[in-house]
Amino acid sequence: MSKAKFKNPVVKWIDHRLPIFSFMDHELNHYPTPKNLNYFWNFGSLAGIALVTMIITGIVLSMNYTAHVDYAFDSVERIMRDVNHGWLIRYIHMNGASFFFIVVYIHIFRGLYYGSYKAPRELLWILGVLILLLMMATAFMGYVLPWGQMSFWGATVITNLFSAIPLVGESIVTWLWGGFSVDNSTLNRFFSLHFVLPFVIVGVVILHLVALHRFGSNNPIGIDVKGTQDTLPFNPYYTIKDLFGLGVFLTIFAAAVFFFPNFMGHPDNYIEANPMVTPAHIVPEWYFLPFYAILRAIPDKLGGVLFMFGSIAVLFVIPWLDRSSVRSSQFRPIFKIFFWILLADCVLLGYLGAMPAEGIYVILSRIATAYYFFHFLILFPLLPYIEKTKPLPISISEPVLSGSSPASAFAFREKK
């Protein structure tokens, strides 16, 4: 499988029978990686580390948690007050979810900016969107477990989305609940699924990595690697770059865990769930706010639900919606402008999702929702007909050797 030579006789013996060391040597050590990757390429490995952190802290938390409507809230408070280091483990898990989403959203926008979803990486992208969906389901169910007011009413509102389905909607909601309202059966099954879905995510992440390693990483100028002169071995060049990025990430993460642990949470979730009283203002966790804004922007129940799921469904087909053969925004002047508009649009949707659904906020939500779909469904397919892309450099080596600006790389080529 590989020419790797191992000195250690035990490693040699094992590798001959189970080529795990050759595999790691090939995929993590020699793995040829484009030499021009910038720091936005750190976020994939950061997401992986966030996932592992969530699984480890989650398993430990489950050892102290009781999935029952009468005990869940108290068992979480016990973790916070009585369990040794429980506060730390729970705050890591709680903030870890937010940071996982921050990292993954940056990872996704990096893919959008540099056209990482284009051939031959379509499946890589689709697997990524699948991971996002699984993450959302997992995060939603995890948020229900502390059984606070936001847990309960978030669960009620989100499961009720399915009641918008014609004919079978009500039966589906009853089936999801295992009763006539969010209750003990619901809590139990959410705990079970919240425990198992992260391992499903690990499985899809492995497929994501297999697909990635088939053609290797995309890169900031978005042209294919032409040969070894364009790449560096992953180790030590990118292991060290990823580790440095991890250090920065952990510093910010630790600051949140130790100094602002409840900044991204909601105080109402420290009130035990009460099925008789809805809090005055229900908002989901921040990472769902853009989708929540889309849901509320549509004045029809089924329509709102369809648009909300559609906003994620559209991501699956982006590789075929964007018809330009140029990957990186660096060579697509108009696309680049619209990329920043899309980013601003998503941030605006996030803000609107946190505001009450009335007056100017509803109108703005509708405009922002319209833009979101316009961007993917109309702009992506049509832009290549209008846009004049900049000339692409001949190879990755040229811009790297002649300075970072692609324009100077082009000049370099002209001179030759």
Partner: protein, 179 residues
Amino acid sequence: MSKKPNKKNDESKRDFLLVSTYAMAGIGAASFVWPLIDQMNPAADTLALASTEIDLSSLEEGQAITVKWRGKPVFVRHRTPGEIRDAREASMDDMRDPEKDSDRVTNEKYIVLVGVCTHLGCVPLGQKSGDVKGQYGGWFCPCHGSHYDHSGRIRKGPAPTNLAVPSYEFLSDTLIKIG
């Protein structure tokens, strides 16, 4: 092997056997999957939840109470003559889910409703005297802004249907049984 028609016969026989085997395996798998799916539906003890009786004798005109039934709030409101008039005389032309007030009550003084917004399941405000009651004076859902009138009918906002009326009966003038 040398006779072509025979071979063809064999093949169609084999196809039939294969298809029927797959079909049987499919049915077998589906019949095993069903219990795994159906276990998530409400269990016998959940379905057997007792009905709730409510004594209305202490409920004054203009007052409302909330009781729990099947894990959900049920609103009972003793309506004032003005509220009853409003509910009866409201024009049904602009209603999303037109229904006569008389079809929604047994005794027009008492309106009994499942206190769950038909949009996404929040509990509307309007039971307490200080609550926001919305533009039509009945109930107002704070989650996504649905306005209900004195009959619990949806008048404005995203909810698709009126607040549900549970099945109930008057055991006496002031005692009702829900469920």
